[in-house]
Symmetry: C2
Subunit: 520 residues, 2 copies
């Protein structure tokens, strides 16, 4: 059955060609216009099909899968509104430079001229949230279009490629297999920038190396980065949020640029020189009255050693070679002291998490306003992969974890999930349950859009009752244990830090998903 | 406090000007870039601010509010991803020709040049789901822009107007009040079309009058429509889904064009003449292999007496005048027989609903695959307003009902909600709970995307296990009573039709929301 037949329709040619090129997971929320893909996936049995009950679950799961599998998955989305539902988490994937392919169903080409209820401009809807958009033209060229989408998605950096699939080119016969195309490699090292970086490190001035993306995923590159910084007396910082960081005891602790604007400015104020490796000059998350947008001091001499399209580890190797630096050795760090019983607070939660996180965990970080408190846990814990919300569009954590678990079924996944953000894609719990994923979701329940209270202050306002009613999640209180049970995920509420640690340890040992509502 | 101060910022000028023009409800899911609006709403206390925990809740609630209040609400959305989250239900509002205004926050003008994490092209994101888009330029002209948005939203038909609000023009001083602008009226009656319609009615050929939008909202227009049809021996049909229909005993029963393609073609096959009143020539919801897109017979002589921009009731009055028709009298219909105890089935559910629906209910219809079975309930029940999913983008019911309840706090709202669709915007239950809305959500639990099974068949496929796994909502089963409890909405599961009726009657009498999970 899995040898391509001599005759097949367009949908089958796409499924078979993508699979032959290594794409074997499809995250789907299909509708009528995608039925020929459902049929092709069903008949060929080549892909693991994962259903999301909302498209924002689908796109974030594809992102989480790609961050951990190191290769793209394909999504199946339903016309312009289905794409729009997926868009917020596609935005996050784009900002993370994660590659994935969207197959966006559309009306058949001859039906597009009529204003049917689900008609809208699919290409225009895809454009602001995609790096590449193409409308399929006919069954015969459809698989070749999919291979072009895959080429774009697998480039360096990864990109979001959206291929629009009019229904008829999926169901028409005449599909033809297409071969994988070579993906675009990283931009070559800029020798002038290398000279510039060497001069910065040898300048004797305060220098910061800002490193992002693939550097943070690569334990050897991190060792070299620290060797360079030690040799030159430079500091290391990372962007405020990163798609994946390899962390934990026996590895290197990393400091992030803080999120709050004043702290960020203070942190970067001392530097006269900055070397960027797979990142861009840091900018404020938001603008505020009377505050700058660019975070580095105006007179800081900045060089991009490797841009977002560069090869950071290779650039660091070249830099180390030029200044004679060797890989650093991470210091052995003792496991953190286990907190005693007591209320769960922002002061004890990092130690609790560091103590309780299982070996080789994948940590999904959508902690938002609790994030400054929880982030240090990743350094004190056993080795882990730490995946954060990258584009600022909340509602990624639960489905990102579902996708990461599908990429790495043998690793425990722990999600640090702000309560307000959890509600955007709460449906992802059901996908965790259906897939039997070993995901432990820790709801950090402060019962507010806590971060916005600070932001209201930052625009000079004092919150009154009407403002607070738009920032607080009380009246009524949410009960995440009930919601999770309704989607097939068992759970419990904890108010004591010792209970929290036990609950994490128990949950990570058991197969299948679990939810812990941690009352802050 | 509520007299405009001599000095105010841009955000306050917008809030005050919209309020002075009659906009007094704001559905919001704000973020950092909207904090100056939160502040202005808080300080002025001019609007009822309703928080949604997801933007798709916000947009559908604004739609439901407008359908029942007959005037626009304003939404508050957070940059391009926040708009995208709202877009699917804005699509539905557009297809319903419902007017509303989106205030979409964006980075401050000077911050837009940097690639901050939440940066994206907000104008491009808004365009495919808006009838009108404008980027605000400065504080002084901001309220005038809002008045232009209101003019567009209140036109005939209603439109979706999106005003993008860079943060700085909200917080800058120099805001100036702006006065309401006259909205565009309906297109004038086309006298040639009127002649054409008269000829159709006098032709002696089988004639159908297809009536939509404001005709269906207007009890007097419906009486005239039926008088015309009786006088001329014509039939009446409505589009497959309608934003609002005034229905119930003592009114006129209306037949819809069926959703399934073959049934729709069969229904329209007999007609040689068609008169369109506030609707367009009917098209298939989707295209299917070998089936036509246009549903009326090719040789059917069709005239648009009033387009979507026309005044259907006025056109019908002119037509009645020409042929000498009078308003018909609706027949007195006895209340339906109350079903006996037994399983809830598609065969008994209409009678059960008709028997149990309270007087003057607002019925929200997102019944999807159960819709053909539940729709007749609206004719047999006490008088009611029946609001349907209009744009085919599922996930409208729960939040549409929340908005309708805010427009009509004294009327009971009953939501007929398919289970799969419910999961798209399940967060809307929390808004119902917070607002104490008298909404009874009836989950029609068939535990599948049932409608897609027929659609798979329509593209010629036989579903195997992998296809069914993408169409069934089992593994695990959803428990909506648990989910609702987690969001502060009490509920129960019913399996017996007598229990269902009692539960509806009890819930509608009690204030506040309730959820009934009806197992089909």
């Amino acid at each position: 059955m899995n040898k391509p037949p001599s005759e097949m329709n367009g949908a089958e040619s796409v499924v078979r060609s993508l699979h032959a090129a290594g794409v074997d997971v499809c995250f789907a929320n299909p509708g009528t216009s995608e039925m020929q893909f459902v049929d092709a996936l069903d008949r060929t049995k080549l892909m693991h099909c994962v259903l999301g009950l909302f498209e924002g679950v689908v796109s974030a799961a594809a992102d989480g899968y790609a961050r951990m599998a190191g290769k793209p998955a394909v999504t199946l989305l339903h016309l312009a509104p289905g794409f729009a539902n997926a868009a917020a988490n596609l935005h996050n994937a784009r900002k993370a430079r994660v590659g994935l392919i969207n197959l966006v169903g559309d009306h058949s080409l001859r039906h597009q001229q009529y204003d049917a209820p689900l008609s809208a401009d699919v290409e225009a809807a895809c454009a602001p949230f995609s790096d590449w958009v193409r409308m399929g033209r006919d069954a015969g060229s459809f698989a070749a279009d999919a291979m072009e989408a895959l080429r774009v998605a697998k480039g360096r950096p990864g990109r979001v490629a959206s291929l629009i699939a009019p229904a008829d080119i999926g169901w028409d016969e005449g599909g033809r297999m297409a071969a994988e195309l070579p993906a675009e490699g990283a931009a070559p090292l800029d020798e002038d920038a290398l000279d510039h970086a060497v001069r910065a490190l040898e300048s004797g001035e305060r220098t910061v190396i800002l490193a992002g993306n693939s550097v943070l995923e690569d334990v050897e590159a991190l060792a070299l980065l620290h060797g360079i910084a030690e040799k030159a007396g430079a500091d290391i910082l990372t962007p405020v949020s990163n798609r994946r960081m390899e962390r934990g005891r026996g590895r290197f602790a990393l400091n992030k640029i803080p999120y709050p604007i004043d702290l960020a400015l203070d942190t970067l104020a001392p530097y006269r020189r900055a070397i960027l490796v797979e990142t861009v000059p840091p900018v404020a998350f938001f603008a505020y009255p009377g505050k700058p947008s660019l975070l580095l001091p105006e007179d800081c001499d900045t060089v991009t050693l490797a841009g977002l399209d560069g090869d950071g580890p290779a650039a660091l190797a070249a830099l180390a070679d030029r200044i004679g630096a060797k890989p650093a050795k991470a210091q052995d760090v003792a496991p953190p002291a286990r907190p005693q019983a007591g209320a769960i607070t922002l002061a004890n939660i990092a130690a609790a998490l560091a103590s309780a996180l299982p070996e080789d965990a994948i940590v999904i970080d959508e902690a938002v306003s609790s994030g400054a408190a929880t982030f240090p846990a990743g350094d004190g814990a056993a080795p882990n992969s730490w995946l954060a919300l990258t584009g600022g569009s909340i509602g990624i954590g639960i489905p990102l974890s579902a996708g990461a678990a599908i990429a790495c079924p043998d690793r425990p996944v722990i999600t640090l999930q702000a309560d307000g953000s959890a509600m955007y894609t709460i449906q992802g719990l059901w996908t965790q349950a259906r897939e039997g994923s070993n995901v432990t979701t820790i709801i950090l329940a402060n019962r507010a859009y806590e971060i916005l209270k600070g932001e209201l202050h930052n625009v000079g306002a004092q919150p009154g009752p009407d403002a607070l009613s738009m920032l607080n999640l009380d009246r009524p209180h949410l009960n995440f244990v009930d919601m999770a049970r309704g989607m097939g995920v068992p759970g419990r509420r904890v108010e004591d830090v010792a209970d929290l640690m036990r609950a994490i340890e128990d949950a990570a040992k058991e197969p299948g998903p679990y939810l812990i509502e941690a009352m802050l």
